[in-house]
Symmetry: D2
Subunit: 112 residues, 4 copies
Amino acid sequence: MQPKAKRRIVVIAEFSIHPIGTGTSVGRYVKAAVRSMSGIPGLTFDVAPMSSVLEAENIGTILEAVEVSHRALRSMGVKRISSSLRIDERLDKRRMMSDKTRGLKRLTRATS
Amino acid sequence: MQPKAKRRIVVIAEFSIHPIGTGTSVGRYVKAAVRSMSGIPGLTFDVAPMSSVLEAENIGTILEAVEVSHRALRSMGVKRISSSLRIDERLDKRRMMSDKTRGLKRLTRATS
Amino acid sequence: MQPKAKRRIVVIAEFSIHPIGTGTSVGRYVKAAVRSMSGIPGLTFDVAPMSSVLEAENIGTILEAVEVSHRALRSMGVKRISSSLRIDERLDKRRMMSDKTRGLKRLTRATS
Amino acid sequence: MQPKAKRRIVVIAEFSIHPIGTGTSVGRYVKAAVRSMSGIPGLTFDVAPMSSVLEAENIGTILEAVEVSHRALRSMGVKRISSSLRIDERLDKRRMMSDKTRGLKRLTRATS
């Protein structure tokens, strides 16, 4: 439904969440948080090893992802939740998250 | 000296915001962001050298601080804004931000 | 396609760096930082839209990436540098950065 | 022993560390990390509710604080450690951590 992937002005963010005190394996909590974000209209996201990258047309949508993620962990009975969010809001140039790594990927040395 | 300061269950967070591309001195933007937060009902905050510490009874209030801070910088004409938020939500114990440094302050070596 | 890729105990981190005050486009500085990291023995990294994901067998290697990145920006004449590092050190289980997104990728909604 | 508190060019950072999986109370680990930093020559630090503020003349000293803190938690038997570091390196102006909150403190609303 985005036929030409038009350049929009978007807010890009990086979000990470984990419980403290439930054991060293937190995968199922991270999965619940990611799943909770999938119901948010207007939010695009991708998972990376340390966080999820979020993309939306406005900050409110990004912040909603934070709110539903905390709610998801609370509903699983988590008693202490730590999360981290970094926002990059750019108003002078239309871009998407994929634009940010263009030209950098060839410099990386991935696990082989 | 805090006669009734009752222990509430609160969300404590750390928030930092700065413009990118407006010069190396960003103090007036930080001040505008801090001022914008002072209008939020239910939000307690304190400034530290690298960020502001926020305290509220729920996450929505914390996220509102992020939203108004970005809005404050946009209204000053900033074209790119970087912000960072770390949340510590604890449900098993009533505490306030001051509880978190108790017993640690005496270990510090502050600038003299 | 990773025939022996043996599981090692590794430190995984997320690192981001940008200059403040050089304009809103910071791509060439990010590229210089990423390039500076490519000379570090024992460091594996991958770039994501908001940060680079770093992987090494010990924390010293991760911290060296921070040091050379700051040096790279200073050598370009940058007068103020902001960086962010989040470390996840795990000692009870052998894993690599690719293990952390397994099972999560299918939940994402990437830009289309 | 710093009679006139002369302005130096310093690196200011914010550092936070906690174990994952040892229970919701992490105070004794935080205390061990803070204590481990007190042996680092050239490092000044202050604790805040969400992190410690670090100040040093060069980045290497800041990174040493990260390294000793992780070591302190490992030596307590922690199996998974999460830490977060934000660095603000400024080369065009001499300042100390106390300069960064000047003029902002009066805007705050502390817990009362």
